[in-house]
């Protein structure tokens, strides 16, 4: 955590508003225009992918059944095991 904070600080300190490539400056109009362009390109690319791509997800015919019953039961069995063992030992006439 500490190293992460320190790294971030170092990065910010290198890129002052009046210096460098302004890669981290979101405020300037030139930069936001560039971002907007990139964003539009991204939407376009994404849209064409969604429309023309082959990615299709079909809902299964059968309902999705998650068998929680098994897990719950095993949990219960393990909880009862010690007591059931005592019960069998305490009732030797019927077990």
């Amino acid at each position: 955590m500490n190293s992460h904070e320190l790294t971030n600080r170092a990065r910010l300190a290198r890129n002052l508003p009046m210096q460098g490539t302004q890669e981290w400056e979101r405020g300037s109009t030139r930069q936001s225009a560039a971002y907007g362009g990139r964003f539009a390109l991204g939407v376009l690319a994404g849209g064409s992918l969604a429309l023309g791509g082959c990615v299709s997800v079909n809902a299964p015919d059968k309902p999705i059944v998650i068998e929680l019953n098994i897990n719950i039961k095993q949990e219960v069995i393990y909880r009862l095991a010690a007591d059931a063992g005592n019960t069998i030992s305490d009732n030797p006439d019927i077990f």
Partner: protein, 136 residues
């Protein structure tokens, strides 16, 4: 020094407790077998009754009227015990009975009959019995 004398003082006591526990174990093992009704013990040994997966006695083959009556009587008593213990443990009777069935099958002696998870009747061998994967 003090701790050592203390330990030495307690050693005979521990020895007595240990031998008492051992004597209890030796005495209780045959007692468990002796507590079965002779007819029930004989029916078990002969494979006329077996332990089902649901915690009750079943019949691997068609039983005589006497054997059926005896097993049904035991099953009624088992159900009463299961119901009481299930309530005390906040579980259903079926859950408690199933757990007991797991253990009862595990405790069968070689030669006795038990029900496998697929419902078939098996004779207990020297090894571990076939049990449900949920059994402890």
């Amino acid at each position: 020094m003090n701790a050592r004398t203390d330990r030495m003082k307690h050693r005979p006591l521990a020895l007595v407790a240990g031998s008492a526990a051992l004597a209890f174990l030796i005495a209780s093992a045959p007692a468990a077998a002796q507590n079965r009704d002779p007819a029930y013990a004989a029916a078990r040994a002969a494979g006329q009754v077996g332990e089902k997966t649901d915690g009750y006695l079943g019949f691997p083959s068609t039983p005589s009227a006497d054997v059926r009556h005896m097993a049904e009587d035991i099953n009624i008593k088992r159900k009463a015990v299961y119901a009481e213990k299930a309530q005390a443990n906040n579980a259903t009777v079926e859950e408690y009975a199933f757990t007991s069935g797991c253990l009862a099958i595990a405790r069968t002696a070689p030669g006795e009959k038990y029900q496998a998870p697929d419902g078939s009747w098996q004779t207990r061998g020297a090894g571990a019995p076939q049990r449900d994967s949920r059994c402890p």
